[in-house]
Amino acid sequence: MSVLIFMRTRRPVRAANKEKTRKAILRAAIELFARKGFYATTTKAIARKAGIAEGTLFNYFPTKEDLALYFFEEEQNAVIAWYGGDKQVKSAPLPEKLFAIVQRFLDRLAPYEEFIGAVYLRALSPTSKLNPVSLQMQERNLRYLRFIRSVLQEAEEAGEIPKVGDFGAYSFGLFHLAMITYWLQDRSKGKEATLAMLDRCLKISTHVLKKGGWDW
């Protein structure tokens, strides 16, 4: 009986603590990645900075790739949460909504550009967990794709675009990946070329969806 009570009360606390440690590790890692780079940062250094034993670090994140996965997940969650609360964007036309979503993402990623670049390179390896078709990545992307689908659905219901369903969400997901690649390569001031590209692509694709074609 007492054991049961103990477990009931302690479990949420323990879970919350775990989450706290997880976030502390991520913060430490991200800071090191941003400063020293993804490859040059050792797990030992991350553990030291997070104030935990290296062994404990492995309990949370077996590899640096797992850290990167967690990072993206957190970023996605943050963008999804922001979208729900931004009235101006929520009431904007579809191209602006999608622009704001991607831009928000890029804006958050901006301090960690080098790290993102390294992760992207790593993701090209078929055996990497960061590969877009890896089980781990798909799992995380699914949540994001569901979010995008809901945004597209709003536009479908408002008559802004015809029904595009899952296909629309998947296409946008790929476009989003491509835009991050473009952004990583963008050497223009303030990455304005990415802004122009993003804006233009979204306007063109919405136009095509609306009119069912393109006046070449």
């Binding site: 101006q88 964007v89 904007a92 036309p93 191209p95 602006e96 622009f99 704001a100 831009q103 804006d107 223009s188 001031k189 303030g190 990455k191 304005e192 070329a193 802004l195 122009a196 590209m197 804006d199 233009r200 306007k203 063109i204 136009h207 006046d215 070449w216």
Partner: protein, 432 residues
């Protein structure tokens, strides 16, 4: 040269690339086509054909440019300023073009702002209006309240417009310069246009212009020129004090009395002459949208993206004195000044009757030396310069510029219905 106009919806941005491609063949193409035919057609056919082609060309230009954005629009406006190289009908169409730039939606404007200044607008201003109140040719203008409580105007440039302009010029040069047509679109002129527009994409230049004009024209107490907030400006963002005033149309709608029209007209001329004499630089965009008016005669002047550094005072002085009447040396001096040392003097000399007419209109002599801008004949007299130059293949970019500025001024003063003693204003300015 941001023509301040109401914004239109985002329509048409997407077709830009495609349209530009076609534009290369229509604005340039049809005009070049006309010039090509000009070479073979006899005089009779030439006139009719030219009129037809020009009409078609100007309609096309309007259709095409009307839906085009930033770079090409900018180009159209600048071509319209360079009246010498395009036929007058086309120029007039171009001059009428109002900016229907694609509004950057709030999310894009914010992102571009942050990309340039490192912070979002709401972080650096007390208040920022996400919806712009005016379009400028290379960007759009938002109202905001600075942290110190001052009303400001914030101009934000379209992302990557510089690259777009460079592409346009590559396209233009390649479409423009085949064989003998090159004479009508000399590379120097295209390069000059390119340089001017690209310079305009750096708002640091505009900030410097604003400061120059602010200082140089401060003695004109009725004139307001925005002040720059340097710490809230960059190459692509420009924060300025907000200038109050009515638009030209609003001002005219109140049916101002003749005395006020004359006063405002004279002041506009004085502002212009002050630039020519004191600054040796001219606000290159005499579009009504760049002036703001008050019913007590005060004037605001905005948008200093396109400023031309130019010393035209000797020409104005020569016109005032009719210096060409002093004999062959006087003739030679003014003609070389206008058309350059290498221009054939015999051909250039045919310009003298035109100068006579223009001088009598702008600097009339006699008991009442006043130019009445209500007289529509002034337009013909002024534009005959560009026609002459075009017909005789005499290229004088600086003079063409002056002519355009005069035409722009005429346009404004004609609609205002002002009577102005230009000579008196010029002399008064030269004594200050």
């Amino acid at each position: 040269m941001g023509l301040v106009t109401k914004l239109k919806a985002n329509e048409g941005t997407v077709r830009r690339g495609y349209r530009l491609g076609r534009l290369g063949l229509s604005i340039v193409g049809s005009y070049v086509g006309y010039q090509a035919q000009n070479i073979w057609l006899g005089d009779d056919g030439r006139a009719a054909r030219a009129a037809r082609l020009r009409q078609r060309a100007s309609r096309r230009v309007r259709e095409e440019l009307g839906e085009l954005k930033g770079a090409a629009m900018k180009l159209g406006q600048l071509l319209s300023l360079q009246g010498q190289t395009l036929p007058e009908d086309v120029v007039r169409e171009l001059a009428q073009l109002q900016m229907h730039a694609p509004a950057m939606h709030p999310s894009l404007a914010r992102a571009q702002f942050k990309g340039s200044l490192g912070a979002y607008p709401e972080e650096v201003y007390r208040e920022f209006q996400a919806v712009p109140f005016a379009a400028a040719s290379l960007g759009q203008v938002h109202r905001a309240i600075a942290k110190d409580g001052a009303q400001v105007a914030v101009k934000i440039q379209y992302p990557a417009i510089r690259a777009a302009i460079e592409n346009d010029f590559t396209l233009l040069s390649s479409a423009m310069l085949p064989g003998r047509m090159a004479g009508y679109f000399p590379k120097t002129l295209v390069d000059e246009l390119r340089r001017g527009i690209l310079e305009e994409t750096d708002y640091h230049n505009e900030a410097a212009n604003l400061e120059l004009f602010h200082r140089g024209l401060s003695r004109l107490k009725y004139l307001t020129i925005p002040t720059v907030y340097r710490e809230l400006s960059s190459d692509r963002v420009l924060t300025m004090s907000y200038v109050e005033g009515e638009s030209f149309d609003e001002f005219l709608r109140r049916r101002p009395p003749q005395a006020l029209r004359d006063l405002v007209g004279s002041r506009i001329v004085e502002v212009y002459h002050g630039q020519l004499q004191w600054l040796k630089a001219v606000h290159a965009d005499p579009h009504p949208g760049n002036y703001l008016f008050h019913s007590d005669g005060r004037i605001g002047l905005v948008d200093f993206g396109c400023v031309k550094r130019i010393d035209m005072a000797p020409i104005v002085e020569a016109y005032r004195q009719r210096s060409w009447r002093d004999g062959p040396e006087g003739e030679r001096r003014i003609l070389t000044f206008i058309f350059g040392a290498r221009a054939p003097l015999a051909r250039a000399r045919q310009f003298i009757p035109i100068m006579d007419t223009q001088a009598d209109i702008l600097f009339p002599r006699g008991a009442s030396p006043v130019t009445d801008y209500r007289n529509p004949k002034i337009w013909d007299a002024l534009r005959s310069s560009s026609e002459f130059a075009l017909r005789n293949k005499l290229i004088a970019p600086d003079f063409a510029f002056l002519t355009r500025a005069d035409l722009g001024l005429y346009h404004l003063l004609h609609r205002l219905g002002a009577r102005v003693n230009i000579s008196e204003i010029w002399q008064a300015a030269s004594h200050q």
